[in-house]
Symmetry: C2
Subunit: 663 residues, 2 copies
């Protein structure tokens, strides 16, 4: 293989009928740009960086399209989104456009004092938006993530498009982004195990209470949830059936250490999170590649669609196997309440399929993996509804007042009706407090003269959702009722950061999972998670983190966006926090995701840049007290955001809906 680092253009004689012209481009801080040329085979990159994301270059180079063609392409994608319901309120999307510069610094600065309670006022959005990740969070404050940042600019003047009958498309990437096929499968295969883990943890109020006791001392929100748990644990059980709708979020971790440990492809040898070492440092240099895909020679037919500059068929990537350079998925968190975007995410895959197939961006016999999230989530709800066994009862979606992401929710409502003839109604916690009643005998939950079979929460995860004691009373009323809760209080608490951290060792998992192989599989996707409690060697890790802040993320127990701290903010926070305040936080090793070029389309405008992605795997779980009735992976969600070159970009993400392109 001849390597010519100075070569500006690389011809890939790909194995399909297409030719690609790749132009390696050095990105901002990247220094390594060597790219290989081979006469007949596929090109391989030789990169002088410790972190290697060259697998992208070998597999699925997101096309770079000429400007004139790009216009037509964006127009087509946007119109597909607008006609197929990938929509949001314009206010939210426009707010997100400002979020990166405006909110990131402000929110991280105000967080620094560590007083999580009051800060979470910025987290009006969805928990996925609030999800802290090991790296700069894709979900955090982002497009796909909801309104963490939108909440803070809701009152901003000049919106002009706030009429609720007006929508714009949710931000999306123009092309799907590469995810190693084996990793996608691995995460899907793991999901039933995580579903079951959450279930078992939720059934141990003692474990939850003891694990969360210290955090509850400094975090009123956790304390409130715990008190509900205690209340209902002491009472007679009203409902044996539980419905779990979860989403486990992952990011790819391009860990240089993988090159030595991951000798084969099955992912078993990946170093456990706790063993992640210095090689994963956030300031490592990535080899950045951009590819410009030129027009195929014979023009005309089926190739370009609107202008005379077009793109080529990419090779079918299915037959590629992961290599030692393949980055591995690492779990950011599991959302056990209000996991969103099952609706919009599913349709985004259809949009990508449309764009990719129509313009021959992929070989014809390769379809993007179908996204079954919407169908599966609705199916799970309908099944729980049938188990309640009252034909006239409804599913109640617990919503935030003024929800910006209601169209994602409407998809569930429409699907439930059109496929199952099950009605879904929407109620805020305040409305539930005001209007809902329990009947004395059966503890059936009645709202507005309708019996509630399933209470599905798309609110209630943030302190903002409980402005007064009334909303807590509403939550308790639901919890005490015979309605099937999704989630119940145990599931909610099982998804908190402190519990995540407490479950990050073999010993902890062994309390709930008997199969050591499953435990080992779970551990393989964990990053290092550390307690900050002085009773759990917290002082030592705090010292390390203050010395090497770039290796960690500081996450509050609190759900809600924009509260994760990185770099100097993390350093400062850990320095000033009291021991008690620290106990309401955890530390996580920072994920260093590989970057890939793509276009993010927001409000009809495309911006090309390096992005990082976060993959969500939905899980649906139904059980009663004697058996598991349903336990499955239920589709996926990919969200991507422009990678911030400032590695302290806390919650700066302006995420966009994406689809995985398996490579």
């Amino acid at each position: 293989m001849s390597v010519d680092p100075s070569s500006a253009t690389v011809e890939l004689a790909a194995d399909s009928a297409s030719t690609l012209t790749a132009t390696p481009t050095a990105t901002g801080t990247a220094t390594a740009t060597a790219t290989a040329t081979t006469a007949t085979g596929t090109a391989t990159a030789a990169v002088d960086a410790t972190l290697d994301s060259s697998w992208y270059a070998e597999t699925y180079p997101v096309p770079e399209v000429h400007e004139a063609f790009l216009y037509a392409l964006v127009e087509q994608a946007k119109d597909y989104a607008l006609t197929h319901g990938i929509v949001m309120t314009p206010k939210l999307v426009m707010a997100m456009a400002h979020a990166e510069s405006a909110t990131a610094r402000a929110s991280s600065a105000s967080s620094a004092a560590g007083a999580a309670q009051s800060k979470s006022a910025a987290s009006g959005g969805h928990p996925s938006s609030a999800s802290g990740s090991g790296s700069s969070s894709v979900g955090g404050g982002g497009a796909a993530g909801g309104s963490a940042s939108a909440a803070s600019v809701a009152g901003r003047p000049g919106g002009g498009v706030s009429v609720t009958a007006t929508v714009t498309h949710a931000p999306f990437t123009l092309f799907p982004s590469p995810i190693p096929a084996a990793e996608l499968k691995r995460a899907q295969a793991l999901q039933p195990h995580f579903n079951e883990l959450i279930h078992r943890v939720s059934q141990s109020p003692e474990f939850l209470a003891s694990t969360l006791a210290e955090a509850a001392e400094s975090d009123v929100f956790t304390a409130h949830l715990l008190s509900i748990l205690k209340t209902v644990s002491a009472e007679e059980k009203t409902q044996k059936v539980v419905l779990g709708i979860h989403r486990a979020d992952y990011m790819l971790h391009a860990d240089a250490s993988l090159q030595s440990v991951a000798a084969n492809d099955d992912g078993e040898e990946v170093a456990s999170a706790a063993a992640a070492d210095d090689a994963a440092a956030g300031d490592a240099v990535h080899a950045q590649k951009r590819r410009r895909v030129d027009r195929e020679g014979d023009a005309a037919n089926d190739q370009s669609d609107s202008v005379a500059t077009a793109v080529s068929t990419l090779p079918d990537a299915r037959h590629r196997s992961s290599t030692s350079k393949t980055p591995r998925l690492k779990q950011v968190e599991i959302n056990t309440i209000a996991a969103s975007f099952g609706g919009l995410g599913s349709i985004t895959t259809r949009m990508h399929e449309y764009i990719m197939s129509r313009h021959n961006f992929k070989s014809e016999n390769l379809a993007l993996p179908e996204n079954v999230a919407l169908a599966k989530l609705a199916e799970g709800m309908a099944q729980a509804w049938r188990l309640y066994n009252k034909p006239g009862a409804v599913i109640m979606m617990v919503v935030q007042p003024g929800e910006h992401n209601s169209y994602d929710q409407r998809w569930m409502e429409h699907t439930l009706w059109e496929r199952y003839h099950v009605k879904m109604i929407r109620q805020t916690l305040t409305e539930i407090y005001t209007y809902a009643i329990l009947d004395d005998v059966e503890k059936a939950l009645w709202v507005d003269a309708r019996e509630v079979a399933v209470a599905y929460f798309r609110a209630g995860y943030s302190p903002l959702d409980y402005p007064t004691e009334d909303e807590w009373d509403g939550r308790l009323l639901i919890e005490r009722s015979r309605a099937i809760k999704c989630p119940n209080i145990g599931y909610h608490l099982a998804g908190t950061k402190k519990v995540q951290q407490a479950l990050s060792t073999h010993e902890a998992l062994a309390q709930f999972i008997s199969d050591p192989e499953v435990i080992s599989d779970m551990l393989s996707v964990f990053m290092g998670l550390y307690s900050l409690s002085p009773h759990e060697n917290g002082d030592a890790i705090v010292k390390t983190a203050i010395e090497q802040p770039h290796k960690f993320v500081l996450k509050p127990q609190r759900e809600g966006g924009g509260n994760n701290l990185y770099g100097e903010d993390l350093q400062r926070a850990l320095t000033v926090m009291t021991a008690q305040q620290r106990s309401a936080h955890i530390l996580m090793d920072r994920i260093t995701p590989p970057k890939v070029a793509n276009y993010i389309v927001r409000h009809g405008l495309a911006q090309r840049g390096e992005i990082v992605s976060e993959l969500g795997i939905y899980g649906v779980f139904i059980a009663d007290d004697s058996r598991i009735i349903k336990n499955e992976a239920a589709g996926h969600l990919l969200r991507s955001k422009l990678a911030s070159f400032d590695d302290g970009g806390v919650a700066a993400g302006v995420a966009a809906l994406d689809s995985p392109f398996p490579v």
Copy 2:
């Protein structure tokens, strides 16, 4: 039967399991409000008006819902529309909100001089929006109709939502509107005959040329089209296959004379249009009824959805037969070019089905007639594309620059790709002039390096589409090419008003249709149509129309909205026009449609009022020079607008997408 005209509330002991409470309401100018009460049967109205629309009351009373429930209902309907792609650019919808007061009078006033040429500058919209109707046109300048009015306010400040990535829902009625089932079937059954008629007329350049000669003298646009016809008729035929996508538009005519002639239900005895008499006068009094449907007794289950005030199951209307009071459909016109709303209209029916089924507004086993328009239109195009027989070729949609109704068009593009893997591209006539070429040998049309199999016009029907000679050259280029035209120039001309009028007699139809029964069926849906040419007894009818202007509509040969004249405007125009100017117009007996209460939802806001509806029946036709390959009715479109109490409300219509509820 006991009749109590003063009764405020009528209990209908309906034959299904529901109860309805009807509250008759006298409308603005209506004076007759008598309503009957029967103890056991259905209520029948005794109305002291010459025109009788009491069939509505007997069949499908559009529900009147309580305000609190209405809010939830509108929210649900609007969100369904927004997630399912019943969308438009907000500018258009907002413009329409102003249209009624602003444009109607201005446009009719400026039209009065009869100089059709310059006035049509107001008709940037779709021909369906421009379609003159026998009454105040539903399509005219309306929502469903496109941008006749929007064009005139495009530059209006304060839009604020003109970003093309922002959409709002197209205006729609909250409930479907009643159409006699037998009439719907009749119009569908007639469609293949009209398809064939248009085809035969299009194949007679001599007939078209002689019929339009006089109109062309004062109408440059018609002259231009005719000259293209002459040019291509003299040349060798490049393409034997023709594709027709038409939409015949109808309104119900509540003609008092029907009461005597329509003794049975089959519609055959309906007085022919030419025989319509004074009893159809436009100032007749309609009995207006509104019905408030109260909540069913046993509440809770499956009945209401969001508040404790709800509505009841309506009786299944399928078993009702039309009676002597049933109004009959009368043809407004047939659109042979750019018949729109196949996309949005189809989805509107799904939205109505959702709202109606979810809230039990209809019996469970009654589905609204499926609207196959989008599927059938795409199927027709795909079939024509296959007949062209070049795998790499595309379908070219000829579009207006800055089209406001592009989402309706996108539905076709998406459907063609997802179902047939046929590509559709969009080109303006200017682009075609600039970039398109014919190859010398085969006369294949190439645009931007792609061969065009089918040229489908969604532009080109209005003089506005030809700002310079370039666009005419582009049109001619297409016409001369081997591409299958939809429509070709003959089809286009066969859809003009003058041709419509010329075909309104038995003798004229007999030139093209051999079956006398078919001719009789066609005549039964025609209103009286009159030439204004001095050579065709025009002077006599002009005199009558000036004396009784309320009985007629004056329609210019010109396609394009807002040019039909009524009442005093008509009177004034006919008085000042020269004979030559009159020859570019026709007169039509005015249709007097029955009114029914409904809600029109525009930009998220619902307005209840009396509406009139216009039913479109799509037709798809494919033939070569030896045989008919496809000839069918292809779905429907119902558009409704608030009935203007000013019976001179020219093109004042703010139409909304509706669905027929067969009664």
